[in-house]
Amino acid sequence: MSFIPKHRAAVLGLLALSLAGCGGAAAATHVGGTKPPPPATAGAHMPTRQTPAAVKPSHPAMAPAPAGNPIPQGNGGDHDVDNNGGPSDGDGSL
């Protein structure tokens, strides 16, 4: 009589242990699931990458106007009137 309950208790104990193991494994998987943070960290960079991508439509338009003056003034470059103090023409500064 006393053996059966003990056996059941042992079985139950093993079951509990294996379940706990599964749970642990599940937890480990979850921790592994927390690992995505590295990708998620990479994902954290994504918004930074996406921002310029999202902004791109406006920036390409600004790109051709480089910092500094690409066409020398004082009758330089393409000798346009706008390099000599005249009104600016419609070139794209290329």
Binding site: A54, V55, P57, S58, H59, P60, A61, M62, A63, P64, A65, P66, A67, G68, N69, P70, I71, Q73, G74, D78, H79, D80, V81, D82, N83, N84, G85, G86, P87, S88, D89, G90, D91, G92, S93, L94
Partner: protein, 203 residues
Amino acid sequence: MTAPTRRRRVLIAAAALAAAGGGAAVLAASVRPGPSPVVAVQGFPRFLAQAAPASWPALGLPGRSAVLYYPPALHPVPGDADAVSVASRGPAGTYLLYLNATPRQGAESLRHWAAFRPQLLREDDASSVHLDAAAAGLAFRGGTGSCVIDDYVSRIGAHHYREIACLVQGQTAASVVVGAAPASRWAQARPVLERAVAAYRVR
């Protein structure tokens, strides 16, 4: 409220939000590049594309992608090989009226023109630039255009000019048409410059 109705309303609300978000993005994109917020600029004159007076000569861009019509008082002046420029000049050689047409060369776009043009002036020819007015979606002869009216001070000679500058997209090509005059003479120059821009024809 039945479930389908509620769902429909949610979808409509989501679509409205998405549309509002898209609009905000467009607005931000327009405003971001320049110190002069495009949305705050008002007062672009009423624009009506129309044929030039019969007496006006014309100069075509290479490939006849666009034609610049100009008053007979103006005369061709040197410029870029692929562009056409005409002007009238004062006794001291100062530019009184100036018109130019140039094929699109860079990353100019109709959407960003109001930011692009002042930025280009700032980086290229001008020590200071002020955007006075802007408009988009203007119907040109043969195409659609975005225009700005701005004034700037040239780096050489510190001349203060005002201009109307438009990027015009035709069926096959885009080009820029510029009409400029000394800011002090803008009141007299404006009607004829606007008339020339209104007569600009693209293909």
